[in-house]
């Protein structure tokens, strides 16, 4: 995976965040973006896309640079906007590649490539079945618990759930744990051991 090791040393700044919304871009911003994109792609890349991970990062970076050129003279292209644009391009590109593969969104068929984490078909099928059951069960939860559980399943910590939904930490904790209990109960009633 490409890294930003060859980039000129620059002062390290935190990534993203509104506080950077008017900070001029540096070479380091692009270097960090490239490294972050490579890391994100490596983490989420489906097996059929793994062999093209480097290409994907390059395409996204090219698109971001093109976007910046279009915006030159019309406004600030901040570090925050840079990352936002990269996210947009990354999602678009992954979706485009999926369509081009003519595979459904499961995306795990085709040229699987050398990915050690590629699950066996039975396990993959069980995972998808559980995923569908989770989505169905989420609809049976009362709304506050559903909101809390969805964000938690998306990877947010309990304090983050509270901050995003503007709840107290205690309330967020309560709703996440009760919601997870409801979700597990629903899955068990369907004969699925979560």
């Amino acid at each position: 995976m490409p890294t930003d090791a060859q980039d000129p040393p620059t002062e390290r700044r935190p990534s993203g965040g509104g506080a950077l919304s008017h900070t001029p871009l540096t070479e380091g911003d692009y270097g960090r973006l490239r490294a972050d994109l490579a890391r994100v792609v490596a983490q989420v890349c489906p097996a059929w896309l793994a062999s093209r991970a480097d290409d994907l990062v390059q395409v996204v970076l090219i698109r971001v640079v093109e976007m910046q050129k279009k915006r030159e003279g019309t406004g600030e292209f901040s570090a925050f906007y840079l990352r936002k644009a990269a996210h947009n391009a990354l999602v678009d590109e992954i979706r485009r590649l999926r369509r081009r593969q003519e595979v459904p969104l499961n995306g795990e068929i085709g040229d699987a490539g050398p990915v050690a984490t590629h699950p066996d078909p039975e396990r993959h099928s069980a995972g998808r079945q559980l995923g569908r059951a989770i989505r169905d069960c989420l609809q049976t939860l009362v709304r506050p618990r559903r909101l809390a559980v969805v964000l938690n399943l998306q990877g947010h910590t309990v304090p983050e759930v509270g901050r995003l939904l503007r709840w107290t930490a205690k309330r967020a904790e309560n709703l996440v744990y009760r919601g997870l209990a409801d979700l597990r109960g629903c899955l068990e009633r369907r004969g699925i051991a979560p």
Partner: protein, 243 residues
């Protein structure tokens, strides 16, 4: 923190793309980015989270935005530690917790032989609460010894709203019931009088007086904490409806 196996699996399964039809009107990617960064109005954010519950492409876009802002994968919650915290911190805002420990102290002072055995573990731990093996959902690694017999989402009558459960011989139970605001606008409100603490019976009939101000069809969340003879505790939760 260690990743609880159960939650890890749920997250991985939820991240599986779904080939089912997805809802129309997906939010723009820019809006998803703003949502991750807390820049949306609360109502819009909630709509978006609701949308993600059924739309795997939008959920994936959200996860990508989240990952871009993190040096590593999303930090998992430590359910066991959280359960401990919940059990200990619960005293701050849940009326049932503090009376429970007072009750323990009173029972210990009485030095009843049987309870001395039960509480011995507790006492040797310097007054710390017994470890919780399953709390508010627990982990997939632990099966609870205590189980609800009253089915989930059961409709309870105002007169004779009886909850039943099963557990191990020698266990004692605390029960709390709260009125859930399904809109999420208000905190859950305790509805039962703090009478069911340290009981050995495996059923409880909610007094009609406690339900007098509860609207018909309301969602009631019951939390049953079992104190097992070996000194451990476990909690199970279940929702009921009021007729």
């Amino acid at each position: 923190m260690t990743e609880p196996r159960g939650l890890d699996r749920l997250r991985a399964a939820f991240a599986q793309p779904d080939d089912a039809p997805h809802p129309d009107h997906c939010p723009a990617l820019a809006e998803i980015w703003d949502g991750v960064h807390g820049k949306l109005l609360p109502d819009r954010l909630r709509e978006m989270v609701e949308h993600m519950a059924t739309c795997s492409p939008c959920a994936e876009a959200w996860r990508l935005a989240l990952l871009m802002e993190r040096p590593a994968a999303a930090e998992p919650i430590d359910e066991h530690a959280a359960a401990q915290t919940a059990a200990e911190d619960g005293a701050a805002d849940r009326w049932v917790r503090r009376p429970r420990w007072r009750l323990y102290a009173a029972l210990a002072a009485a030095a009843a032989a049987a309870l001395a055995v039960v509480l011995g573990v507790h006492d040797f731990r310097g007054g710390q609460p017994p470890p919780v093996v399953a709390q508010r959902g627990g982990t997939a690694d632990h099966a609870t010894a205590t189980r609800w017999l009253t089915p989930g989402e059961a409709v309870l009558p105002r007169l004779g709203a009886r909850l039943r459960w099963s557990g191990v011989p020698g266990a004692t139970y605390d029960l709390t019931m709260e009125l859930e605001d399904e809109s999420g606008a208000a905190k859950p409100k305790p509805i039962a009088s703090p009478a069911f603490l340290g009981r050995e019976v495996t059923e409880y009939t909610v007094p009609m007086a406690d339900l007098a101000r509860v609207p018909a069809g309301a969602l009631l969340a019951a939390t049953l904490t079992a104190h097992l003879p070996d000194g451990r505790s476990e909690s199970i939760v279940r929702n009921f409806r009021l007729r």
